[in-house]
């Protein structure tokens, strides 16, 4: 069974700083996907970034990048130049290849302070 663990329940940084959210996972699959989702108070789940396990190159999306360490089963999210709008719950998730269910971590509540 897949499991996802986020060990940081809460984090807080100042605006414009860089912050890294941690995520580890466990899976017996060879082909799988990893995601970071953001959930602001509006409760809408918003995809931040995704990573295919077969790709060695770390995914990046503007200010968001991941450090994907496949052997260590680690998938951290780095937010550069953090903005007030980044304040939200962040969930790490994984899924097997082929429209399968998402397995979520416990979430990290991130607060960006002005």
């Amino acid at each position: 069974a897949q499991t996802v663990t986020q060990s940081q329940p809460e984090m807080s940084v100042q605006e414009a700083e860089t912050v890294t959210l941690s995520c580890t996972y466990d899976t017996s699959e060879n082909n799988y996907y990893l995601f970071w989702y953001k959930q602001p108070p509006s409760r809408q789940m918003i995809l931040v970034i995704r990573q295919e396990a077969y790709k060695q190159q770390n995914a990046t999306e503007n200010r968001f990048s991941v450090n994907f360490q496949k052997a260590a089963k680690s998938f951290s999210l780095k937010i550069s130049d953090s903005q007030l709008g980044d304040t939200a719950m962040y969930f790490c998730a994984s899924t097997k290849q082929g429209a399968q269910k998402l397995v979520f971590g416990q979430g990290t509540r991130l607060t960006i302070n002005p």
Binding site: F35, Q44, M45, L47, A99
Partner: protein, 113 residues
């Protein structure tokens, strides 16, 4: 990526009653997923709804409590039956949006009093 319309956005219900939540997708999808998010918690999958077959429920969730319908490839409903205060949660539907990742409905915040 797919766009999901989920209704209602919130409701307050009396214990013992039932609530049906609807999700409409703007494209045809094979599988739809229903999640529960209890207060301050992460998302937990309730069931996977496949058109033309019975939904597949995760451990701890049963059809009598959470019946699901999937009449076509763009629509699904989840009913929360015989509600108790413990059912107070956010319920979300989701579909696989391919390269754009999984898309979620806007969620239904249910409060049972």
């Amino acid at each position: 990526s797919a766009v999901i319309s989920q209704k209602p956005s919130r409701d307050i219900c009396q214990r013992g009653t039932s609530l049906t939540i609807q999700c409409q997708v703007d494209s045809q999808v094979t599988m739809m997923f229903w999640y529960r998010q209890q207060p301050g918690q992460s998302l937990t999958l309730i069931a996977t709804a496949n058109q033309g077959s019975e939904a597949t429920y995760e451990s701890g969730f049963v059809i009598d409590k959470f019946p699901i319908s999937r009449p076509n490839l763009t629509f699904s409903t989840l009913t929360v039956s015989n509600m108790s205060p413990e059912d107070s949660s956010i319920y979300l539907c989701s579909v696989d949006g391919g390269y754009d990742g999984y898309t979620f409905g806007s969620g239904t915040r249910l409060t049972v009093v």
